[in-house]
Amino acid sequence: MSSNVNAKPNTLKAESAGSLALPRPGIRRPSNVSGGGSGNQDLSKQFRLGEAVIQFLLMVCGALSVLTTLSLIFVLLWESSKFFTAAVQPIVSFREFFSGTVWQPRIEQFGVLPLLNATLMVSGIAMLVALPLGLFAAILLSEYAPPRLRAALKPILEVLAGVPTVVYGYFALTFMTPSIRGLISTLSAVGPFAVILILAAIAALTWFLLTTGARRKARETADSQSNGGALILLGSLTGSVFFIGLLAAIGSLIFGSTVQIYNTASAGIVVGILVIPLVASMAEDALGAVPVALREAAYGLGGTRLETTLSVVVPSALSGITAAFIIAISRAIGETMIVAIAAGAGPKLTWNPFDSAETITGHINRISGGDISYNSIDYQSIFALAALLFFMTLLLNIFSRWIMRRFREVY
């Protein structure tokens, strides 16, 4: 054993010597060229083995991803075509697939609507969260944040993007759901009239904090004692409380006060949190691409920073921001782990976000986890669902590219 330990560094040295030898041909070549003295033309025509190998490898890498996509599409179409043709009994028609309201493969009910509805609901709730928060984060990072704050915030946002989705799933189940339950049950215990009063009070407080904060901020240069920034921050906080309370109140008024342990609301909110970094970074890129000249022109006309941002910068970057939203929607539609853990495990056609329902991805995840047999209709149904998901995200991606091209302002 000890001889092994001694042997290791020797082989290491040999290896490193070998790797050092590699660049030598590369070093020799330029001297060759200068020796020939025939200049650039010779250089491009000369066959260089190293270059060719690297080019070939790069091409293989590129081709590999294209091939993977193509074979994926092929498998999806092939297997799902079996679902819609007579390869396995019973035959499922497109019409039955898209108009049926019950999905229960075991008793031959193949209506995709409950699954599709749950998927769209989770994505919709996710976008309600990710749209404003992501856009505001992008505006803050691109227009307001001083470099030091930006340097601190960016990595935090990236950490948010790096959290494994399983963790988000349990976050939804063990934190978000109890929070929603607590909030809703408190609201319904307090009663609708008191809720309106409380919300009005919070709104008034927000208004007061924001306006006085802004006024003080404006005087900041003259009065160094002013703490307008802190007031604005406090105002934003009470504002968020107001919106969360308002949403919860509206939700409990429409859908009642019972929140299931598995529900689409908490899954949707957490999926929203998951895609915030995606929205924020893409929207920030779009905002950053707006030429400084446009901002300066707006300032020159006497616009404040808020006016400049809202009426000049954001509209100019709208195509990029819209594309970011659409990409985020397609990401939310495809999200699996969070909905598998927190949204529920039974297909159900419901509009109630506090009720449990199963999304397409969640269903695929659950069914493929059991010992399902090949060549059964259950097995083929998974491919049909996967193909549906694929086309949804494909369409959204194409749409976002089209928007990017069609509405891009070229400066």
Binding site: M1, N4, V5, K8, P9, L12, K13, S16, V102, Q104, P105, R106, I107, Q109, L173, Q260, I261, Y262, G344, A345, G346, K348, S356, R366, I367, G369, G370, D371, I372
Partner: protein, 368 residues
């Protein structure tokens, strides 16, 4: 400088890898030598222990000899438990083919795994095709050596067996039971008949089952359709028709028992079912329903009083066991070791009497 640090790091990594490798083998060797030393030390101190040890060693060598010549040996009694001659898996040769119940499957698989891990070199085929199909292959096609079943064999199946010259011997190996559970806040439902269960698992509201119960939606948490648990519940409560359960509102299906436990914990109006073993792990968080006034327990399950329980059997034949010593060894090993793995698999062990009876049947069949 960089190369030096790099080679240092590599050296360190290599050293750690070697240390890790050494770590897994060296201490094991140490332990065994320690054990030997300990055993010697003990032997010096207590002569009785050495006698016992050498006895057992002798017994072990005896049984290996016995099993090598086709496993004929005397069964002995020890504290009310019949001890069959010990099988040495290393000396068993040839394959075993078995097929049958998907409920017995995980149990048979666990036993076969243990058998293989102790040195059995052959292959044990276990097909999970259902009890009926298992008997079909054992009695009609005569392809299998062992049939796994989650119900006793029927008379016409015995007749089929006898037609091809086989007389099936039944070995009871354990009992499977389902637990129907509710939320601890559920103080209205503590007992249900099988008919009421069918109602609870199909009705929309609790008040639809019993007018005194709350007018709230019943939230059902049910094992997935691919599981044997689902099939057994449908068989016992819905007469093998899964449709009412599958089309019941507010029903969640999951192969993951934990999802069901969290679900039932999550609402006072929830109800669910799964293997009894999983209930015992979570007994603090859940209420269990009595079925027709019978509480699930070792005795009620064993005696057949608890409605959602069924016996688990393996079947073989004396002629097959004497023709193929590996089958006799497998059945012996199954009966002798099933109680080591059965609770892990999630079933109830059979009573000593039932297991003794099975072992006696084995001795009788092999002794012929």
């Amino acid at each position: 400088m960089r190369r030096i640090t790099f080679s240092l790091i590599m050296l360190l990594a290599a050293a750690m890898v070697l240390a890790a490798c050494g770590g897994s083998t060296a201490p094991a060797a140490d332990n065994s030598s320690d054990d030997v030393a300990g055993a010697i030390g003990n032997a010096e101190e207590t002569p009785a222990a050495t006698v016992a040890a050498s006895d057992s060693a002798e017994a072990a060598t005896d049984t290996t000899e016995e099993t090598s010549d086709s496993a004929t040996g005397e069964a002995t009694m020890d504290g009310g438990v019949v001890i069959l001659p010990v099988v040495d898996p290393l000396t068993v040769e040839g394959d075993v083919v078995s097929a049958g119940s998907s409920t017995v499957f995980p149990l048979a698989e666990a036993v076969a795994e243990k058998f293989n891990s102790e040195g059995y070199a052959g292959t044990i085929t276990i097909d999970s095709i259902g009890s009926g199909a298992g008997f079909e292959r054992f009695c009609v096609a005569g392809e299998t050596d062992v049939a796994n079943a989650s119900r006793p064999i029927k008379d016409e199946e015995i007749a089929g067996c006898e037609a091809i010259g086989r007389s099936p011997i039944e070995f009871r190996v354990g009992t499977d039971a389902l637990a129907v559970v509710t939320n601890p806040e559920n103080d209205w439902a503590a007992d249900a008949t099988v008919e009421e269960l069918a109602a609870i698992f199909t009705a929309e509201k609790w008040s639809d089952v019993n007018a005194d119960w709350p007018a709230e939606d019943i939230l059902r948490y049910v094992p997935g359709t691919d599981s044997g648990t689902f099939d057994y519940f449908v068989e016992a409560v819905f007469e093998e028709d899964p449709e009412p359960l599958l089309s019941a509102p507010n029903t969640q299906f999951s192969e993951d028992d934990n999802v069901l436990v969290i679900g039932v914990e999550g609402s006072p109006y929830a109800v669910g079912f799964f293997g009894y073993a999983y209930y015992t792990e979570n007994s603090g968080k859940l209420n269990i329903l009595n079925i027709g006034g019978v509480e699930p327990s070792f005795e009620s399950v064993e005696g057949g009083d608890y409605a959602l329980a069924r016996p688990l059997f393996i079947y073989s034949d004396a002629a097959i066991m004497s023709e193929k010593p590996q089958v006799a060894a497998y059945v012996n090993y199954f009966l002798s070791n099933v109680n080591d793995v059965i609770e892990e698999v999630g079933y109830f062990p059979s009573s000593d009497e039932a297991l003794n009876a099975a072992k006696d049947k084995w001795s009788e069949a092999v002794g012929q």
